[in-house]
Symmetry: C2
């Protein structure tokens, strides 16, 4: 180690290569899933030797962890007016998914890798359920309401970004917000049916 402050990584000569590997890994994981996204294939995409991947990320699990390191946050959703929260949430998730392919990767991998599934669940547990508790009519129903919201959002992500059903891919973003927004709104705030 050379001299540098504690919280700051030294700029390494290999940073460009590291980034290339990470980008290739994200793409492969997102399109192929965990098993089919082999280190060799990722290395080939990055025009690098497979052993470099090991040197920089330890092992395949470490590479995946680094590739999907971001955590989707529900930011100031709490400040939205209560009757607009459904649409705001739909818009937010849509934007998130359209621009971050690591979410597609996380989803495709989570279906077979419990560790990735747990990462997805943590979003539900730590963000969606508390939100439902704050905003919903009955705190005891927060779990159920949050679970329904998760299923609505992830269902759309599944058909649109993972399975790529043409009918789902063809939906325009505004169209999605117009339909999904009221669903989320109802799941969060409507009285028990």
């Amino acid at each position: 180690m050379t001299d540098r402050t504690e919280n700051q990584q030294a700029a390494r000569r290999s940073d460009a290569t590291r980034a290339t590997i990470l980008a290739a890994a994200r793409e492969r994981f997102a399109t192929d899933g965990y098993e089919k996204a082999t280190i060799r294939a990722i290395a080939r995409d990055a025009r690098i030797d497979p052993s470099m991947v090991m040197r920089y990320y330890g092992n395949k699990a470490g590479l995946f962890a680094a590739a999907v390191a971001i955590g989707p946050d529900l930011p100031g959703l709490a400040v939205e007016p209560r009757e607009e929260i459904g649409r705001a949430m739909a818009r937010h998730f849509l934007a998130l998914w359209e621009e971050n392919e690591e979410l597609t990767a996380l989803m495709r991998v989570g279906v077979t890798e419990p560790h990735a599934a747990e990462r997805m669940q943590s979003v539900l547990r730590e963000q969606l359920i508390p939100l439902a508790r704050r905003i919903g009519p009955d705190p005891d129903q927060a779990q159920a309401r949050a679970a329904l919201c998760a299923s609505a959002v992830l269902g759309l992500a599944l058909t649109r970004y993972v399975l790529r059903f043409p009918a789902s891919v063809a939906l325009r973003p505004e169209e999605i917000v117009d339909w999904l927004g009221p669903t989320l709104q109802r799941y969060l705030t409507a009285p028990t049916p």
Copy 2:
């Protein structure tokens, strides 16, 4: 071949083994996905030699095809009263998923295997879209409305049967019908928002 009619398979001494293999395969595919469900593991579950699987089902793809051979049908949904179709659909899908683990298998595998994804899509294409065309207010919107229904149903299946989020597993069946039914009803019949 011994003498028998054309459309009827002869009863073979190995039918029990074949069934055992198929059951083990369904379970493994449903819980592990395509890659992690190895022929060796399936054979071990069925207490049989791996080579038997090959002899009876040709190869791994053939085994999977045989294991998920059922096609989910939307039966007399058309005869339901128009304002009850959402709840009927929710009930129908729920029952289907609770008792057929091949649907879970198809879903978990479809995420990584295009062939299985196409099988899922065919249900949307050949059953859900025609239904939406018949029942919806505007035939031109049938694709979009059917895609939204698929995302709602598959989203619940994803969180409940595949990812097994505790909050989703905890939902009681009647609760699901009460919440999901109106969503499907709206996706199918409500005027464009």
